[in-house]
């Protein structure tokens, strides 16, 4: 190809791109028995890309109001060519993305990739995890169906239990005292403007840091004298691409064999249906709140639960500052704690699905 060199020449006469080329050429990715986890971030990135692409397509037909939202999604699914597929892809990829980001976070945690100098990478990543949960929570309401309506009612009500500020938070989230069309408009704004803008910024920062600092090697393997590595370009990138192809395959299979359902339209004058559950990634918290006694000592059980999860989120964010001596005794305890948290999340998620439905 003659086109590429001449294009490159044209650009480099106007903008010095050698540092960029150098960065890409120089970068290598360590190869060891835990290398597989290095692909989880790219996987999350892939699903995010799918979300942006399908989300923008959905915007062409979606209408954010209590009167029209459900009908517009129905229209997407029944009239628009491949509308069912685009919506199903957006819903499935949302779930896969959240699954991927959890795996990615835990892998970075157990490989202690947050050690100096990568604290900022961890902070931006933890923030992205919270943003993803917010994406899921706000998107869930958009089709304006019964399950989402009541799940949002419950979710926002939980937020209102925060001392002092609780009621203001509730009114801010709902756009009023009740979940209504005003809530839908707000959630739409969060979902398609505020969250994408914030996520894009943090993602660029996160990726820039990763490119500049390179991949960290877990402490146990760091001192290995014959450590191997592979070039980032093209070797690692090609493997990433292979992973993305497999992810696309999985996504398309899921989206077409199990098209996402729409359910019944939300009706503020209907009783709540049985079996209200938040999306699976909130189930472990929800199940915990359900099992807490009404009062712990003198604090209402729910409040204690919310406080504990908030504290958990803050601690997660601060991990790089807490783990001062990653290979010492304290560092090993932090890893053990991580395993316990992971086990807790898995156990309570499963419990949430097995718990007998209300009679």
């Amino acid at each position: 190809m003659r086109l590429f060199p001449s294009l490159y020449g044209w650009v480099s006469e106007r903008l010095d791109v050698t540092p960029l080329v150098y960065l890409v050429k120089k970068k290598s990715v360590p190869a060891h028995r835990h290398s597989l986890w290095y692909y989880t971030g790219g996987m999350t990135l892939f699903f995010f890309g799918v979300q942006v692409a399908t989300g923008i397509l959905l915007l062409l037909y979606y209408r954010p109001s209590a009167e029209a939202a459900y009908e517009s999604v129905q229209f997407i699914m029944t009239e628009v060519k491949f509308g069912w597929l685009i919506r199903s892809l957006h819903s499935w990829s949302a779930n896969l993305m959240i699954g991927a980001i959890f795996v990615h976070m835990f892998s970075a945690f157990f490989m202690k990739a947050y050690r100096k100098p990568r604290e900022l990478t961890w902070f931006s990543g933890a923030f992205l995890l919270f943003l993803s949960l917010a994406f899921g929570f706000s998107g869930y309401l958009l089709p304006w169906n019964k399950l989402a309506y009541f799940a949002t009612k419950v979710g926002t009500d939980i937020a209102s239990q925060v001392p002092v500020l609780g009621h203001s938070i509730l009114v801010f989230l709902r756009g009023g005292e009740e979940v209504s069309g005003a809530t839908l408009t707000r959630f739409f704004g969060f979902h398609v403007a505020i969250l994408p803008a914030a996520a894009t910024f943090l993602l660029l920062l996160h990726l820039l840091l990763v490119q500049v600092q390179g991949m960290s090697v877990p402490p146990a393997l760091e001192k290995n004298p014959n450590a191997k590595s592979i070039p980032f370009f093209p070797n690692f990138l090609l493997r990433d691409l292979l992973g993305w192809l497999l992810a696309l395959l999985l996504l398309v299979v899921l989206a077409s064999i199990f098209p996402w359902e729409l359910g019944e339209k939300a009706d503020p004058l209907a009783p709540a249906p049985a079996g209200i559950k938040p999306e699976w990634y909130f189930v472990f918290m929800f199940q915990t709140l359900k099992l807490l006694p009404a009062e712990i000592w003198f604090i209402p059980g729910e409040l204690a639960g919310i406080a504990a999860f908030t504290l958990g989120g803050v601690l997660l964010f601060l991990v790089p500052l807490l783990d001062k001596n990653p290979t010492g005794r304290w560092g090993r305890w932090i890893s053990r704690l991580g395993w316990m948290v992971a086990a807790y999340i898995v156990a309570f998620t499963i419990l949430g699905y097995l718990w007998p439905a209300a009679k």
Partner: protein, 151 residues
Amino acid sequence: MASEGTEKKTRREFLNFILGGGFTALFGAVFYPVLRFVMPPAKSEAFGGSVSAARIGELPPNSGKIFPLGESPGLLVHTAEGEYKAFSAVCTHLSCTVQYRPDLGHIWCACHNGHYDLTGKNVAGPPPRPLTEYPVTLSGDNVIVSPSRGA
């Protein structure tokens, strides 16, 4: 010299103070309206008047109906004994909408299996407080619920 130095310093401090104060004021002038903007205006107080919740004869004994009570849902119960009772339909646990269960003869919340008796008292499950009861009057053809009069 020394006095000139300190004078310069205080002048710089003064200018920094003005600059900092100016930016703080600007910041406040920008963010205060934004903060007020994102909090929706309160609807002209909680619903005050009376509503016709149902027509007489619409509800057979031992059944219930949800009706709009301003912004939020209310629950009208026609008891098996033929009495009308009205409550807020917002569960005191996490604000799901409750319903009347004819098979149990009392009020039930499906979200986390909360039960209330026909005085609104929370009798089982997670709800921490009773449902607010509202006075009901019969007027002509209508079952009238009047939250403003208190129970």
